[in-house]
């Protein structure tokens, strides 16, 4: 008896291929890479490439619309000798530290308040998000009017309670200008902290509070020994994001003060933009922008290690 195997081979081949492909796709390592590929490509194109190009630019004397010349670390050395660069660095650290601290404390208070039962709770929670939702440029223009000496509602109130006319120069005085941008950044970022921490608060099992109450814990002790430890990972994550956003803030300062008065509110992002676009020094501007990297990278690494340990 002879057996003809060819037709069987021919018919079985596609099915076997499909089965092989399916089993290959079923492998966890393959499937996970397939899932990760689109975002990785997206990140490589929109973050990785500009980042690498930024590093390349920072190593060149590269006027806009002119060919670049490789200068090594000269741009970074130039920054180190530039007193304005150090002023900008100090401004950025003060702005980030104070605004983040205020957002953290205020956001936690806001979350605790929003976690209580009160009428129209859902509406109030939704309204709380408004500063975060409104485009920054738009809300900054509103703040511009609030702080304007001629039309300031703040100064109008202050004059009513006896402060001499025309009231403080919110954007003309270097210290008040810095305080103003910190307050506005806090106002804008508070809902992000508030809502995220509120979500965290709602995951705390009520039994823990009941047990603590039975053990005689006061309100403060319940917060200190139950709420805070359980919220800690979320606080760290929110802080991480907030520091990154605040450190690289651009729109608020660009619209409100453009870094003035006398560079009192100039931050890394606005200064880098002025040098790269205003002065057309792309290499030097890139080096200023990259100066933000070490501080942010250290922070991210430290927080990641801390979270992993936790």
């Amino acid at each position: 008896m002879s057996v003809r195997s060819e037709p069987f081979v021919g018919a079985a081949r596609p099915g076997r291929h499909i089965a092989t492909l399916a089993s290959w796709l079923d492998r966890q390592s393959v499937f996970s890479w397939l899932m990760m590929a689109p975002p990785l490509l997206f990140l490589a194109a929109l973050v990785g490439y500009p980042f690498c190009y930024g590093i390349l630019l920072s190593l060149q004397d590269r006027p806009v619309a002119h060919a670049g010349t490789f200068v090594g670390l000269k741009n970074f050395a130039t920054n180190l000798h530039d007193p304005l660069f150090w002023r900008v660095a100090l401004n950025t650290f003060v702005y980030t530290a104070l605004a983040t601290l205020l957002k953290m404390v205020g956001g936690l208070a806001l979350a605790l308040a929003m976690n209580q039962q009160f009428p129209l709770k859902n509406l109030v929670r939704a309204l709380m998000l408004l500063p975060f939702i409104v485009p920054t440029v738009l809300s900054t223009v509103a703040w511009m009017w609030i702080l304007d000496p001629a039309f300031s509602v703040l100064n109008w109130l202050l004059v009513l309670v006896g402060v001499p006319k025309p009231g403080p120069s919110w954007l003309g005085n270097p210290i008040l200008a810095m305080i103003s941008i910190i307050v506005i950044n806090t106002w804008r970022g508070l809902p992000f902290y508030g809502i995220t921490l509120l979500a965290g608060l709602q995951t705390v099992p009520p039994e823990l509070y009941e047990a603590a109450t039975i053990d005689g814990a006061s309100g403060w002790q319940r917060f200190r020994y139950v709420t805070l430890p359980l919220l800690q990972p979320i606080i760290l994550i929110v802080t991480l994001f907030s520091v990154i956003f605040t450190f690289a803030d651009f729109q608020l300062v660009y619209v409100l003060t453009h870094g003035g008065p006398q560079n009192a509110t100039q931050l890394f992002a606005t200064y880098a933009f002025d040098i790269a676009m205003g002065a057309g020094q792309l290499g030097l501007g890139a080096s200023v922008a990259l100066a933000m990297l070490p501080a942010l990278a250290l922070l991210i690494v430290a927080l990641t290690i801390y979270l992993r340990k936790g």
Partner: protein
Amino acid sequence: MPAYEKETGVKVNYELTSVGSIPTRVAALAETSSGADITMNITLMPFLFDEKYLDVTDISEEIGQKQGGWYPAGKEAVFVDGKWKAVPFSNIGQLMNWRTDWFAEVGFKKFPETWEELYEAGKKLKAKDHPFGFELGHGFGDNHGWIYPLLWSYGGHEVEADGRTVVIDADETAKAIDFARKFFKDTMLDDVLGWTDVSNNKAWMAEQISCTNNAESILFVAKRDFPEIGKVTDQALNPAGPKGRFHLMQAISHSIFNFSPAKDEARKFLVWVMDQKQLGGWYEVAVSYYQPLLHGYDNAPMWQVEPRNIPYRDSLANAHVHGWPAPPNRQLAESVAKYVVVDMFAKACTGSSTRDVIKNAEAQLKEIYRSV
């Protein structure tokens, strides 16, 4: 555009960009070498993008010959390494805007001729709750618009005509700073230190200030939206200092990109636009907001529409680009972008010593000009 398209059959795409976005937009075009054939320039752009612009010396000289010749300031604003890298279109002058009614109350029927006389008027006006408001913050026009002319009028300069020797540390600079300090303290609102370019316009319409330095737009808007303020608004040349009277060139010009696939068409279009037939109409609809840089328009009918704008024409005789007498270059653009001169004056106004602010500015300028 429709007229040109009808006349030649060439389709023209016209893209509008806000003034503040032009440098960024043109930087993107120049970096990618694509996207447009012709661009409008503001202030120092011909010096930043010169390598991407065609030499338009022939067009510019021909236009000049046909229409009465160029003001020297027009050439100064576009002339890079011996070539016209743009065809000048206009200046948007920065001059003195003043309240005739309030000045009259303190005895000034005419605008003061010198900075010292203006200071005397300002002291009296501030005492009557009508302070001055001259921008000392980080805008892009209204601060440089009076600071450079003030510095020049006292004989001070950032850099020599050679374009590399920093000369800011001079007695003339110190005198200008000393004047600015008392001018700020005795005549102005404190808030001017934080002003950007919109601030003085708002303060004017709110009747908060009696004198400022701005483009013609302040009178235009006052007449349109606040007619009572418009009636008592007048405009004048910048005051003179010990070394003369000066104004700042805030030039508008047009360039052709050297990567344009339609260079010939672009040149023809630019010649057509700058022809008196089109150009005159363009200037007229803007009611002298754009001050022509061609002498052929010195007596154009548009100057009679609002005689209070005539000082903007007259200011062209002694107008210069930022950084004069040094030829503009990218180092100057960096100095302007870093507000070196504006902040030198602003710091003095907030209490720093003249010596310190000059030394600080000198150190910054030497660092900027080190590479020349």
